[in-house]
Symmetry: C2
Subunit: 316 residues, 2 copies
């Protein structure tokens, strides 16, 4: 049994080798350093890479299990995996703490006018009339009710926000005051002071937010996107901000990443940009490896996994 | 019975007059607009002002009750109130939500490197390697265990921080994992990743933090001051930051307010300055008036108040 890692995993390498002494591990720095022999031998692939496309996996005749060290799997050849009966897992839970903390970094940056205080400090201006907006009592609408939304709702509860969730069927979820099905989105949007998108990219969510949806939001709304950039076209978002359909946006994901210098978002005042960083964390390799260890133990004895298995037809 | 307000109170004026139809209310814009007749007639003073000193109150022979619309009462002539049996209340609780939210605005601004992202946006730089530090698991030390610290601890609990409190005797307080008496401060400081001062100004807390205390903190510690500027001398804080005794500070209060343009803090990179704004809130007048209403009902029938009474010998 051979496991090929698409990344070097620091301390986790030793942990994996000690946990599975009978397994041979090969750790490569990135996809470019993987040779054909590595691929021919691989029974299992772990790690993540933006460059691992179908052609890459086609060189692996023995591949049975891909433990993807990221939450989003939309760059992977899911149909090819399905045809080959390759088991795919992701690590959707491990970014929940970091990402939910970023959501509140954004909300509080905005509500407490941290940029204004920063500018004042730079200009040696002491303005004691700045009045932060209080979070408690405001309504948070989360598009998605999975691991990350649940963690966001936990923080939002402590901040005494009202919490609404959107999921496919509208089924109730612990921690949410109200949940609605995706098809009722347009009726729910006007209620929200803060709209956070955490949805994965699927056929259902691609360009889900169009002009009409931004029109339905409050003009005072704050829009946060930490899900996928394709939830709305760049044109739609720029238009919504330009025309003041919403007050401000915090965007961590974009239709075309990385952003180019001439991206029109850079010309807007009412947007705050981060560079797809809300899932980054020095704990990630370790926590992803812990999930892999639990799954791989099960896989070695039963040929299947126990957690974070991706439904290849749904894409999450 | 006449009530003199040192501020105009917007919607709350009507509420007060309707709640107490037998009482005469006088609402002035500020202390400068109050005449001698206003003062001679006043049985009760409500509101707040930085200019209300002992001389101001000496013109009020009928004064029996001061409902101070702020948390800190250290600018008031407490001994004079004690000698005259004047009841003093503050509104220590009403700023708790706003101030606790600001504490997390600061922590997350720092932990998630929001300034770096902001600078990158200004420079049209897209750096997807920025890695936020996770809050969960870190230790928060709060100097104080009163209303505001309790509210901070409630948020910190949701963020899964370890929460330590310091109070006079070290008595246990709900929501804190550990509490220690003030005299053990030096032994507790090395444990903290984040130190938040919320203590009021008293003889015991004046210049409580000296070089030795900053030496005891972790070099990686974040220091936040939303209590009173006199917790440490300006010289001590500037020295601690200049010499890297701590990593960064968020300061909302200062020994000499307002900060002058030549204040040495403006020369430092590892400090973030806000202008004594963490207690500002558009809800404050309303919430302070609601406390006053509850107290004044009791005062009219019993000559005493039921909540937020200040111990004039302690100053809080």
């Amino acid at each position: 049994m051979k496991v090929l890692s698409l990344n070097r995993l620091k301390d986790s390498e030793q942990l994996l080798e000690e946990t599975f002494p009978e397994v041979e591990f090969v750790f490569r720095k990135n996809v470019d350093e993987i040779n054909e022999q590595d691929k021919r031998d691989a029974d299992v692939v772990i790690g993540y890479s933006g460059k691992a496309d179908q052609a890459f996996f086609e060189g692996m005749p023995n591949l049975k299990f891909v433990a993807w060290y990221a939450a989003g799997v939309n760059s992977l050849p899911l149909q090819y995996f399905a045809e080959r009966n390759i088991v795919l897992t992701n690590v959707s839970g491990i970014h929940a703490k970091q990402m939910s903390q970023f959501v509140f970094a954004y909300i509080l940056d905005d509500y407490k006018q941290m940029r204004v205080s920063r500018q004042n400090q730079d200009n040696k201006v002491y303005d004691s009339t700045i009045t932060g907006r209080r979070v408690d009592g405001d309504t948070l609408l989360i598009l998605g009710t999975g691991n990350i939304p649940k963690q966001i709702s936990k923080l939002a509860r402590a901040f005494e926000m009202k919490i609404i969730g959107i999921n496919t069927t509208g089924h109730e979820v612990d921690g949410f005051d109200e949940t609605y099905p995706l098809k009722e989105l347009d009726q729910v949007l006007p209620k929200a002071d803060v709209v956070v998108n955490v949805l994965p990219e699927t056929e259902e969510t691609y360009h889900l937010l169009e002009d009409k949806q931004f029109d339905a939001m409050k003009e005072t709304a704050l829009f946060i996107n930490i899900g996928r950039g394709t939830i709305a076209s760049e044109e739609t978002i720029v238009k919504a901000l330009n025309e003041g359909k919403i007050r401000h946006a915090y965007l961590d994901v974009f239709e075309k990443e990385p952003l180019s210098e001439d991206n029109p978002l850079y010309q807007l005042d009412n947007v705050s940009i981060t560079a797809h960083i809300t899932g980054n964390g020095k704990e990630n390799f370790k926590e992803a490896s812990q999930i892999f260890i639990r799954n791989f133990k099960h896989f070695l004895s039963n040929g299947d996994v126990i957690e974070k298995k991706v439904d290849l037809s749904k894409g999450y």
